[in-house]
């Protein structure tokens, strides 16, 4: 498998497909430059490996290869996009002609693309990428995870553990004469436990990963923690009581509950919705949208994180964008298209699921900076409320700003003390209002373990979130206990 781990994207595509940066520039030059406002060619090769353990043994193993090229031409607000899964000069030329057709359809535009040169980061160069790690070691790890999950509690009846490893090689040539490549490793270990007792069944899940080597799971015995967490959650939920229904004070634990930020404000601050005026945050730069305790950033430059990128999928180096500073809305996340149309700078947030999709403004790692409160004090400050520490997915309606995220591990808070665990419940709020009700921010900022995937317009990309313990004075909890 070593052959699949190239040292440079340029030589990889040149050796395998006879396509190199000067030929890519020729395609751009002869078809697109001068006729459109911006253009790029994106080459991608992706290997993906999945191992699945259930009922004590690894019975499913699979390996997938995807490759392709996307050619994009932009004129005014128009985008022409063509992609092919057969990377060859002939197909690139054809795709460029198809993409260009859009530019020939409408009036000229004045805005010209900004050059996106800049030094790419080096956030995840690995001696041994996870796809190249020895299969026998991976199988052994999954078996140990299975044993540890079962050993954690006798009520665990089923364990499903999966290990996914991926390597994406890409090369981007833009009309501004800038060619940049990236090699992106990614891996994730997931553990699901089913626990049963007296005819009641429950599920618990935990996992993690990032742009890290296989050995990362072994360091600090992370795998063991994932296993025991999955078991603990499943068993805990066996005695969960009905969740409360209605508006109440909510305390969110650190880490993954940062999904609140992703849904409540993150999507609403993506450039496209703001350019179109369809976001609840449109036109609100400089205004107060959160309490002064709240500072939120999107940072694609944290080494080895799941949501990090050396360059985004348009070749722009990623950065750290302050979205909210002390409660004031300060920035949007931009790709090249929306930055150009809004007269702003690209922020390194142009991302795509694969060569088969045009880029969109997307988040990377989105988190709230730490405050000064002791997390214990925050809990003690609540007379009646909900303490939520683990979440499933979330979703937002960008236009009216209403968002949800579903707690999978949560407890009642009674007189400042954490009480009984409650069944899963969806929390719902309004993006522009929810963060104005943040009254306490803990000093315990934690990033999530590396399991997040964000969907938008049918495109999935890996992301990260983070949060310190926070108190939100009022939020609606969608339980069944009235």
């Amino acid at each position: 498998m070593k052959e699949l781990v190239p040292t440079r994207p340029e030589s990889f595509f040149s050796d395998r497909f006879n396509v190199n940066p000067s030929l890519m520039e020729k395609v751009l030059g002869s078809n697109l430059i001068g006729r459109v406002d911006d253009a790029d060619i994106y080459l991608e090769y992706c290997i993906n490996e999945e191992l699945l353990l259930e009922e004590g043994s690894v019975k499913k193993a699979s390996r997938h290869v995807s490759q392709g090229a996307g050619v994009r031409a932009l004129a005014g607000t128009r985008t022409g996009y063509a992609h092919t899964d057969d990377i060859s000069m002939q197909n690139l030329e054809e795709a460029a002609r198809q993409a260009r057709a859009i530019a020939d359809r409408g009036g000229a535009s004045a805005a010209v693309a900004l050059p996106s040169r800049g030094r790419p980061h080096d956030l995840y160069t690995l001696a041994e990428p996870p796809v190249a790690a020895d299969l026998a070691r991976k199988l052994e790890l999954l078996k140990r995870v299975d044993a540890a999950t079962r050993a954690a509690d006798a009520r665990v009846t089923q364990v499903i553990a999966s290990l996914a490893s991926e390597e994406v090689v890409l090369l981007i040539a833009t009309a501004s004469g800038w060619t940049v490549g990236d090699i992106r490793p990614l891996t994730r270990l997931n553990v699901t436990a089913i626990a049963e007792e007296n005819g009641r069944r429950e599920i618990g899940s935990h996992g993690g990963g990032g742009r890290v080597p296989f050995d990362w799971f072994l360091e600090e015995e992370r795998w063991r923690r994932f296993a025991s967490e999955a078991a603990r959650q499943a068993v805990l939920k066996l005695r969960a009581v009905e969740a409360p229904a209605g508006a109440m004070t909510v305390v969110l634990g650190p880490g993954w509950p940062g999904i609140l930020l992703h849904e409540a404000i993150g999507h609403g601050l993506e450039g496209d919705f703001n350019r179109k005026g369809t976001s609840a945050f449109a036109g609100r730069l400089g205004q107060r949208v959160a309490s002064e305790l709240v500072t939120v950033v999107d940072d694609g430059t944290i080494p080895n994180r799941r949501g990090s990128l050396n360059v985004d999928d348009e070749g722009t180096p990623t950065g750290r964008t302050v979205l909210i500073e002390k409660g004031i809305l300060t920035g949007y996340m931009q790709d090249r298209l929306n930055a150009r149309l809004m007269g702003m700078k690209p922020t390194g947030n142009g991302r795509r699921e694969s060569y088969a999709h045009p880029p969109l403004p997307r988040m990377t790692n989105t988190f709230m900076l730490a405050g000064e409160d002791d997390p214990e004090d925050i809990l003690r400050s609540v007379t009646r409320g909900l303490y939520a520490v683990t979440f499933g997915g979330g979703q937002v309606d960008i236009t009216n700003g209403k968002f949800v995220f579903s707690a999978s591990e949560a407890y009642l808070i009674e007189d400042g003390r954490v009480g009984a665990p409650v069944k899963g419940a969806t929390l719902i709020g309004s993006g522009p209002e929810a963060l104005t009700r943040v009254s306490r921010v803990g000093r315990d900022l934690k990033l999530d373990e590396g399991v997040g995937t964000c969907g938008k317009d049918g495109q999935s990309v890996p992301v990260g979130v983070g949060l310190p313990t926070i108190r939100i004075d009022e939020m609606t909890v969608g339980g069944t206990a009235v």
């Binding site: 993906n48 999945e50 699945l52 043994s57 690894v58 019975k59 499913k60 193993a61 699979s62 390996r63 997938h64 290869v65 490759q67 392709g68 607000t77 128009r78 985008t79 996009y81 063509a82 992609h83 899964d85 057969d86 198809q98 993409a99 057709a101 359809r105 409408g106 089923q158 699901t192 089913i194 049963e196 429950e202 599920i203 229904a245 209605g246 508006a247 369809t278 609840a280 499933g392 997915g393 979703q395 309606d397 236009t399 009216n400 209403k402 968002f403 949800v404 995220f405 069944k423 899963g424 419940a425 969806t426 719902i428 309004s430 609606t476 909890v477 969608g478 339980g479 069944t480 009235v482």
Partner: protein, 445 residues
């Protein structure tokens, strides 16, 4: 069809030591055009292909897939799959279906539009433009738009096994969708409508789709949050379909043998009110979910999942059926990692109630038109999702509601269905008439 390529790959797998193998090939070309506020926004042309291979080494198996059909890549695909099959554990339930069970004669389900008369890209863009324009013009409160989209897609599928079976079929699909934004006094509301069909002529009038979307967006203006309350809840056809999907997911083989389903051990028992019959029918001519055979070459058919409230069948592929000591219900679907289970045309059969009468029967309650979030626990059936809709007062839709949740347990919810509408339309692969649930908790202020 490129079935020859598939057959060659399977031969190579056997030559490499596989005891059996099967493969699925999909080739697809599609075109999409989106417009926003009358201006062309995005045009995409594409061709995609994927070959998925599953190999067996005795009772151990592995899967691999690729979009690269070069000789070298296909050889690597086979080598990797056979290598992976050697490291996975033996499983007595693994294996292909018995060759005698494979489909003998592939029926023509009219899934491909062969009428010709392909419009030009300009004409296709105009369809999207017409759809959006109708939304913008139908009400002055519709002031903005996320755009309208036209798409068409042609796909060819082939399935082959190392036993010598090789069959294929072709499908087409066409669709339009639009997402207008209505505004009033600083409030903005977006909604959505769409139409999709196997044949070009089956797609609804673009202007009608636009007007429906506009109506849906405008009726959300002035939305309020309500006090937390327990009331009758009516799900419109779109949101009711999502409830049906949750039941099918819990009835699927992999959820069951993993003991991760609230329908475990409930076969033959009452899981819903008597008015509830749920059918999965793969053979509807021109159906969006129709398929002549499943992902393992087994003839697709009509399965009654729930009959008059009683759970009558699970949804199984060969592997999950063997795990459960049952027979496949021919619901295998190929996904990247091998074989999964999927429904075809899944529907809750209509009752006799007029939707308007269902609404009229409620003194105070909630009519749900959109659900958001992922708050469904498939293991317990616990249900809690964000909802948007209209408040019912004295039997009439009174005002829009937002930022609330609806919560319960799917088993209790299906048992409490006391009204099934007569308005089933196969608008999508999963469809339901309007459903009324006796009581649910709606959480708000």
């Amino acid at each position: 069809m490129n079935a020859d390529l598939l057959v060659d790959v399977l031969k190579r797998a056997v030559a490499k030591g596989a005891t059996a193998a099967d493969g699925f090939l999909a080739e697809d070309s599609h075109f999409t055009a989106s417009v926003r506020l009358g201006e062309l926004e995005t045009v995409t042309h594409a061709r995609d292909q994927r070959l998925s291979l599953r190999v067996f080494a005795g009772r151990a198996s592995a899967a691999a897939s690729t979009s690269d059909f070069s000789r070298a890549s296909l050889e690597r695909l086979v080598d990797e799959a056979t290598m992976l099959a050697k490291i996975t554990a033996e499983d007595p339930c693994a294996g292909l279906p018995d060759p005698g069970e494979l489909i003998a004669c592939v029926p023509d389900l009219a899934l491909e539009d062969t009428s010709g008369g392909e419009p030009t890209p300009e004409e296709k863009i105009e369809i999207a433009r017409t759809c959006e324009a109708a939304a913008l013009e139908s009400d002055p409160r519709v002031t903005n738009s996320e755009g309208a989209e036209y798409y068409d897609r042609r796909t060819r599928y082939a399935y082959a096994t190392s036993h010598g079976f090789a069959e294929g079929y072709r499908t087409t699909s066409f669709g339009i969708s639009v997402s207008p934004v209505a505004a009033r006094n600083g409030e903005m509301q977006r909604d959505y409508w769409y139409s999709t069909a196997r044949k070009r002529s089956g797609v609804e009038d673009p202007a009608a789709v636009g007007r429906t979307a506009a109506h849906r967006a405008v009726r959300r203006l002035g939305a309020r949050k309500i006090k937390t309350v327990e009331v009758p809840v009516i799900f419109d056809t779109e949101t009711a379909a999502s409830l049906v999907r949750s039941v099918a997911s819990a009835a699927s083989g992999p959820s069951l043998y993993r003991r991760a389903s609230f329908l475990l051990d409930r076969l033959g028992t009452k899981i819903a009110a008597p008015g509830v019959t749920i059918v999965d029918d793969a053979l509807i001519r021109g159906g969006l979910g129709s398929r002549p055979f499943d992902g393992e070459g087994l003839a697709a058919g009509r399965t009654v999942l729930v009959r008059e409230g009683v759970l009558e069948s699970y949804l199984l592929d060969t592997y999950s059926a063997r795990k459960l000591g049952m027979k496949s219900t021919h619901h295998a679907a190929r996904d990247g990692s091998g074989v999964a289970v999927s429904t075809s045309n899944l529907m809750l059969l209509p009752g006799t109630a007029k939707p308007a009468d269902l609404i009229a029967s409620v003194k105070s309650g909630f009519y749900v038109t959109e659900l958001i979030g992922f708050g469904v626990n498939g293991v317990t059936g616990d249900y809690s999702r964000g909802a948007v809709g209209l408040w019912i007062e004295n039997g009439e839709l009174a005002y829009p509601v937002e930022e609330v949740t609806v919560a319960g347990n799917l088993l209790a919810m299906f048992a409490a269905i006391d009204g099934v509408g007569d308005d089933l339309v196969l608008h999508d692969r999963t469809a339901s008439p309007t459903l009324k649930i006796g009581r649910m908790v709606v959480a708000g202020n």
